[in-house]
C-alpha cells in the first residue's frame, strides 16, 4: 500500500507538459463579461444559478401558501399551482443545484485545487456558460409565453405533459421547457468535458489522483456521471418535442382528449419514464457527490483533523457513482413492472446505502476527537450530516417496493426528497460559500448575519420537512392542489400544513439575509488574508488573493503531500500545505 501522505525519498517526477499559454484579455468585455477565466465563469455561473434559484424559492412560497391556506389566495388557481411546482422542481434540480455545483464550484475549484492555471479549454468553458444562460432565458421566457410555463410536474411525464389538460401542454410551456433542457445539456457538455479533462490530464507535478482533495473527487465523478446520464434526458426531450410538434407517437398511446380521439397511437409512456429516470437517478448523485466531497473538506479543515479513511472515501464516491446507474427504476415501482425487476432495483438501491453509510461514518469519525471549530462552514457541514442521515434513512423505506407502493404518492416522498436532495446539498452550498468566499473576494462574510442565517435555515428546514413525513404517513397525497373533503385527513393535518407554510416563509426570508451578507461583505467584510482557515489545499496557497488570471504567478505549484495534513505530530503548525516540501525529498532538479 502506498503512503498517501508524503513520499520521503520518493523522486518527484519532472514536468510532462509545458506551462500553458493563457489567453490574455484586452478589454473590459473580454476580461469580465466574455471572460475565458474559469474563476470569472464560475462567478457568472453561480450568480445566474442563484438568481434563477430565487425565482424557484418564491415559487415554493406560493406553493406553500396554497397548501397551508387553501382557498385564501385567488391568484393561485389549480393551473398556476401545477406550474409553480413544476418550475420550482425543475429550476432547483437542474438550473440551480447542477449548475451551481458543477458550473460554479467546479469551475472555481478544479483548476485551483489541482494546481492548474485554468481549465484545459477556456474558450469552450466560456461557451458553456453562455449556453447555460441561454437555457435559463428560454426557461424564463416560458413564464411570459401564452399559456404560461408547463405544469406537467418536474418529471414531465407524457402523455399528460403534452395534452391540453395540463397547463402549457398545448401552448408554449412544454416546448420551451424541453428546448431549454436540450440547450442546457449542450452547454453543460462543453463545460463537463473541460472539468473531466482538467482533472485527468491537467494536474500539477506531484498531484496524483489519490492526493486530490475530496471536493475534486466529488465534482469529477459527478461530471463523468452527468456526461453519461444527460444523454438519456437529451434523447427523451428530443422525442417528446417531436411528439408535441410533429405528431409522432414515441411516448403517446392512442388517447382521447376532450372527447376527441387524437392521431397518436402505439407509443409508450413507460419508455419516457425509463429514459427520464436513467438520467434522473444519477442526477441525484450528480448533486450529492460534489456535496459529499465539499463537506469532507469542510469537516477536515474545520475540525483540524485529517479525513478518516481517505481511500475509502474516494472509492465510496466512485462506487456510488457506478451503482447509481443501475437503480433508476426504483422511481417507477408504481408504474408497474416485472416483479423480478422490482426485486433487482430494490436490491441495488439498498446496496448504495453501504458506500453512503461508509461516508457518513467517516465524517463522524473525522469529527471524533477533532479540534472542532464551530465556524459557519462547520455548522453547515454538521447540518448537512444530520439532514442527510435523516433523508437517507427514509430513502431506505422508499427503496423497498412494498413500502414504497403505499407511500409513493404521498407527502412522505416530498419530505424524503427535500431532506436528502434539497436541504442537504443546499447546506453544503452555503457552507462552501462561507468557506471559499474569502478566497473569491478577499473578505470574510459577516459572522453574526451568518449565524442568523444558519440557525434559521437549519432549524427552519427541520420544522418544515420533519412534520411533512407525518403528513405523508397519514396518507396526504402529494401534487394535490387542495385536499378538499378527504375524510381520512384529520383537522390536525391542516394546522400542521399551515405551520409548515409559515416556517417556509421564514426560512425563505432568511435567505435574503444571506444574499444581503454576500453583497455587504464584498465591501465591508473583514480582510481575510490568503488563508484564513489555515487550510492545506492548493487554492489557499495562491500568491495573491483573490487569485489573478493564471492563478499561480510565475511558478506552478508542486505538490508533496495529500490534502489532509492537519495536526501532524511534531509539525510546527497544525496544518501543512500540500505544496510544502517534505525535508529530504529528492526532486527531479536536485537529482539531475
Amino acid at each position: 500500500m502506498v503512503d498517501v501522505r508524503s513520499g520521503i525519498g520518493e523522486a518527484l517526477p519532472p514536468p510532462e507538459v509545458e506551462d500553458v499559454e493563457l489567453y490574455h484579455p484586452h478589454s473590459w468585455w473580454t476580461r469580465y463579461v466574455f471572460s475565458q477565466d474559469a474563476k470569472i465563469i464560475a462567478i457568472q455561473y453561480a450568480t445566474t444559478a442563484i438568481a434563477i434559484g430565487m425565482v424557484a424559492l418564491v415559487l415554493s412560497w406560493l406553493i406553500r401558501l396554497q397548501l397551508g391556506f387553501p382557498g385564501t389566495f385567488d391568484f393561485i388557481d389549480a393551473d398556476a399551482y401545477y406550474q409553480f411546482i413544476t418550475m420550482h422542481g425543475m429550476i432547483m434540480v437542474i438550473y440551480l443545484l447542477t449548475a451551481l455545483f458543477l458550473g460554479g464550484f467546479g469551475n472555481y475549484l478544479i483548476p485551483l485545487m489541482v494546481g492548474a492555471r485554468d481549465m484545459v479549454f477556456p474558450y469552450a468553458n466560456m461557451l458553456s456558460y453562455w449556453i447555460y444562460l441561454l437555457a435559463v432565458l428560454v426557461l424564463v421566457a416560458s413564464f411570459f409565453a401564452p399559456g404560461g410555463p408547463t405544469g406537467a410536474g418536474w418529471t414531465l411525464y407524457p402523455p399528460q405533459a403534452v395534452l391540453s389538460g395540463t397547463p402549457g401542454g398545448k401552448d408554449w410551456g412544454i416546448i420551451l421547457m424541453l428546448s431549454s433542457l436540450i440547450i442546457f445539456i449542450i452547454g453543460f457538455t462543453m463545460g463537463g468535458l473541460n472539468y473531466v479533462v482538467t482533472v485527468l490530464q491537467g494536474r500539477a507535478r506531484g498531484m496524483t489522483l489519490m492526493r486530490l482533495p475530496l471536493t475534486v473527487w466529488g465534482i469529477f465523478t459527478a461530471t463523468v456521471m452527468a456526461l453519461l446520464a444527460f444523454p438519456a434526458l437529451f434523447v427523451a426531450c428530443v422525442m417528446m418535442l417531436f411528439d408535441r410538434l410533429l405528431g409522432t407517437s414515441f411516448f403517446m398511446p392512442a388517447i382521447v382528449e376532450m372527447g376527441e380521439q387524437l392521431q397518436h397511437g402505439g407509443g409508450s409512456p413507460i419508455l419516457f419514464q425509463h429514459l427520464f429516470w436513467f438520467f434522473g437517478h444519477p442526477e441525484v448523485y450528480i448533486v450529492a457527490l460534489p456535496a459529499f466531497g465539499i463537506v469532507s473538506d469542510l469537516i477536515s479543515t474545520h475540525a483540524r483533523k485529517n479525513i478518516f479513511g481517505y481511500r475509502m472515501m474516494v472509492w465510496a464516491i466512485v462506487i456510488i457513482g457506478g451503482l447509481s446507474f443501475i437503480v433508476w427504476a426504483h422511481h417507477m415501482y408504481v408504474s408497474g413492472m416485472n416483479p423480478y425487476f422490482g426485486f433487482f432495483f430494490a436490491t441495488t438501491t439498498l446496496i448504495i446505502a453501504v458506500p453512503t453509510a461508509i461516508k457518513v461514518y467517516n465524517w463522524v469519525l473525522t469529527l471524533w476527537r477533532g479540534n472542532i471549530h464551530l465556524t459557519l462552514p462547520m455548522l453547515f457541514a454538521l447540518g448537512f450530516i444530520v439532514t442527510f442521515v435523516n433523508g437517507g434513512l427514509t430513502g431506505l423505506f422508499l427503496g423497498n417496493v412494498v413500502v414504497d407502493v403505499p407511500l409513493s404518492d404521498t407527502m412522505f416522498v416530498v419530505a424524503h426528497f427535500h431532506m436528502v436532495m434539497g436541504v442537504a446539498p443546499i447546506m453544503v452550498i452555503f457552507g462552501a460559500i462561507y468557506h471559499w468566499y474569502p478566497k473569491i473576494t478577499g473578505r470574510m462574510l459577516n459572522e453574526a448575519l451568518g449565524q442568523i442565517h444558519f440557525w434559521v435555515t437549519f432549524v427552519g428546514a427541520y420544522l418544515i420537512f420533519f412534520p411533512m413525513h407525518y403528513v405523508g404517513l397519514v396518507g396526504v397525497p402529494r401534487r394535490y392542489y387542495e385536499l378538499g373533503e378527504m375524510a381520512f385527513v384529520q383537522e390536525s393535518v391542516h394546522s400542521l400544513n399551515a405551520f409548515i407554510s409559515v416556517m417556509a416563509l421564514i426560512v425563505g426570508a432568511a435567505q435574503i439575509v444571506f444574499l444581503f451578507n454576500l453583497a455587504w461583505s464584498l465591501r465591508h467584510g473583514r480582510e481575510a488574508g490568503g488563508n484564513p482557515w489555515r487550510a492545506t489545499t492548493l487554492e489557499w496557497q495562491t500568491p495573491e488573493t483573490p487569485p489573478p488570471h493564471g492563478n499561480w504567478g510565475k511558478e506552478l505549484p508542486v505538490v508533496y503531500r495529500w490534502a489532509y495534513d492537519y495536526s501532524v505530530p511534531g509539525a510546527p503548525e497544525d496544518f501543512i500545505p500540500q505544496n510544502q516540501p517534505t525535508p529530504g525529498l529528492v526532486t527531479h532538479e536536485t537529482a539531475s
Binding site: V2, A11, P13, P14, P15, E16, V17, E18, D19, V20, E21, Y23, V120, F121, P122, Y123, T189, G192, L193, N194, V196, V197, L200, Q201, G202, R203, A204, R205, G206, M207, T208, L209, M210, R211, L227, L228, F230, P231, A232, F234, V235, A236, V238, M239, F242, L246, G247, T248, S249, F250, Q263, G265, G266, G267, S268, L271, L275, F278, V559, H588
Partner: protein, 240 residues
C-alpha cells in the same frame, strides 16, 4: 490544441509494462493518460457521451419496434430501388454504407499524412473525405425525399407502425446532422492544413491558441465514430 509534450515521462522515468503500467499511470501525477494530449482526451470523452446519446436513440427505437402491435414495414422492401428494371433491395443503403466506410479509409490516410507533415496530401485527403461525407448526406436527402414522396411521415406511413417513420427520420436525421457537422469540421481543418497554419503555428481565430497537426487526428476520431454509429444504425434499422 494543448501544450506540446516536453519530456514524455516514458523517457525519463521507467514505467512498468502491462497492467502494472496501467496502475502506475493512474497512480501518477499530472496526467492519467501519458502521451494523450488534452484535445484528444476531450474528444474521446465526448465520443463516450455521444455514444450514450445514440445508444438511447437506438434503444428507444428498438423498444418501440418490439412493443408495437401493428406490423412493422419491411425495410428491405421500403428501401428497395428499381434500377434498369431490376428490383434491388437495400441498394441505396448499401452504396451509402460503402461510401461512408470508404471515407473512413481516406480519413485514416489523411491522419497518416498529417503526421508526416505532408501538407498537400493531408488537405486533399481530407477534402476527399469531406466529399464522401457530403455524398452520403446527399444520398440520404434523396432517400428522405423518396420516402416522403411515397407517403412516409413522422406521424404515419402507408405500410404499418407509425413509429417506423418517426424513428427513421429521427435517427437518420440525427446521424446525418453528425455527418454534416463532420464535413464542415473537415473543410475548416483542411483549409487550415492547406494554408500551413499548423506549420506556422498560426493562432486560432476564437481560441487564440496555436494549432497543431494533431487536430487532423482528432477530427478523424470524430469521423470514425460517426462511421461506426452508422454501422449500428445499418444493422439495427435496415437489416433487422
Amino acid at each position: 490544441m494543448s501544450a506540446p509534450i516536453k519530456t514524455p515521462a516514458a523517457d525519463t522515468l521507467p514505467r512498468p509494462a502491462g497492467l502494472a503500467g496501467l496502475a502506475s499511470d493512474w497512480a501518477s501525477d499530472q496526467r492519467t493518460f501519458k502521451n494523450v494530449s488534452w484535445g484528444k482526451a476531450m474528444m474521446w470523452i465526448f465520443l463516450l457521451s455521444d455514444t450514450f446519446v445514440f445508444g438511447c436513440f437506438l434503444l428507444a427505437y428498438m423498444a418501440a419496434r418490439m412493443s408495437t402491435t401493428v406490423p412493422w414495414p419491411n425495410p428491405s422492401e421500403v428501401f428497395a430501388l428499381e434500377i434498369g428494371g431490376t428490383h434491388m433491395p437495400l441498394i441505396l443503403i448499401a452504396i451509402m454504407t460503402f461510401v461512408l466506410i470508404s471515407s473512413s479509409g481516406t480519413m485514416a490516410m489523411a491522419v497518416n499524412c498529417g503526421y508526416r507533415r505532408d501538407r498537400r496530401k493531408t488537405a486533399i485527403l481530407m477534402l476527399v473525405t469531406a466529399l464522401f461525407g457530403a455524398t452520403f448526406v446527399g444520398m440520404q436527402a434523396f432517400e428522405w425525399s423518396k420516402l416522403i414522396a411515397e407517403g412516409v411521415r413522422p406521424w404515419g406511413n402507408p405500410w404499418g407502425a407509425a413509429q417506423f417513420g418517426s424513428s427513421f427520420f429521427m435517427i437518420t436525421g440525427f446521424h446525418g446532422t453528425h455527418v454534416t457537422i463532420g464535413v464542415i469540421f473537415l473543410l475548416i481543418v483542411a483549409r487550415k492544413v492547406w494554408r500551413g497554419d499548423y506549420d506556422t503555428e498560426r493562432r486560432g481565430f476564437f481560441t487564440s491558441r496555436k494549432g497543431r497537426y494533431e487536430i487532423v487526428e482528432i477530427t478523424g476520431l470524430y469521423w470514425h465514430f460517426v462511421d461506426l454509429v452508422w454501422v449500428f444504425i445499418f444493422a439495427f434499422f435496415y437489416l433487422w
